[in-house]
Point group: C2
Chain length 152, copies 2
Amino acid sequence: MPALDKKDLEILKLLQQNARMTIKEISEKVHLSTTPVHERIKRMEESGVIKQYVTLLNASKVGKGLMVICYVSLRQHSKNAGEKFIKGILEMTEVLECLTISGEFDFMLKVAVADMDEYYNFHVNKLSNIENVGNVQSVFVMGVVKMTQQLV
Amino acid sequence: MPALDKKDLEILKLLQQNARMTIKEISEKVHLSTTPVHERIKRMEESGVIKQYVTLLNASKVGKGLMVICYVSLRQHSKNAGEKFIKGILEMTEVLECLTISGEFDFMLKVAVADMDEYYNFHVNKLSNIENVGNVQSVFVMGVVKMTQQLV
DNA sequence: AATGAAACTAGTAGCCT
DNA sequence: AGGCTACTAGTTTCATT
């Protein structure tokens, strides 16, 4: 995979802001014809630079008004215990993000639910039900100051 | 804004997974013609249910190999101090996310940088340089188990 | 590695049911 | 509110430079 040049980065910048921008519009903005823009995008998709095109929704308008950051430590740190936890997490649609982190806890989750009742149910009946889940700590998101994925 | 029906949710599910899916392809998958699909999408864009179409990149392939979660508390909690902090954060391209949270700290940031040198520079020369920034604690992301925005 | 044109495919709007 | 049709616009490939 060759390095990204200036035009590639310009194209990525535009696509990050609007994944549905047409190739024609991109080509006008970066001062190329449609052919090279089309080829560059295809190349970046194939090389994995472009991971996915996604649509962001307004969380509260689709009934996900509460966001919670949730720290989890496992009781055991065997390979098996970790794998079971990960398998459980991947199946839970409430969990948007799961990161392995340094420090006191093993995992950090970002959880999106409708309200506190639903979060309580998630905590008690789903998360704590996974084998080996030890300490769990919840931090509630009160406001979103910034939320972007714009890497370049 | 009328509530979302089953077809709307089906369309949103598809667009969340692939924002560049054509209206024609969506219409085939949800068993409608292009006209109502086009109208439903337009309506959901206008009502704000659909916030944005974005492209996700492979962070390490665009030179952002290190992700850090960073907790910040302010020394003062006046309206002015908070606004200055937010203004600074919005300008820093390294900061992908900034949430106001419950608990010991005021803000949680998600920061994407190339490497530890760049993070050190961000911490010392950018973040700590904002007036009123008090305690800062960094948690390093060692792995990504799950990372999605799929709300419905 | 880009251009321009040609062939194909999709988006959009009006009209009908 | 959804389908059909016709028109407009975008995508994709190819010959050419």
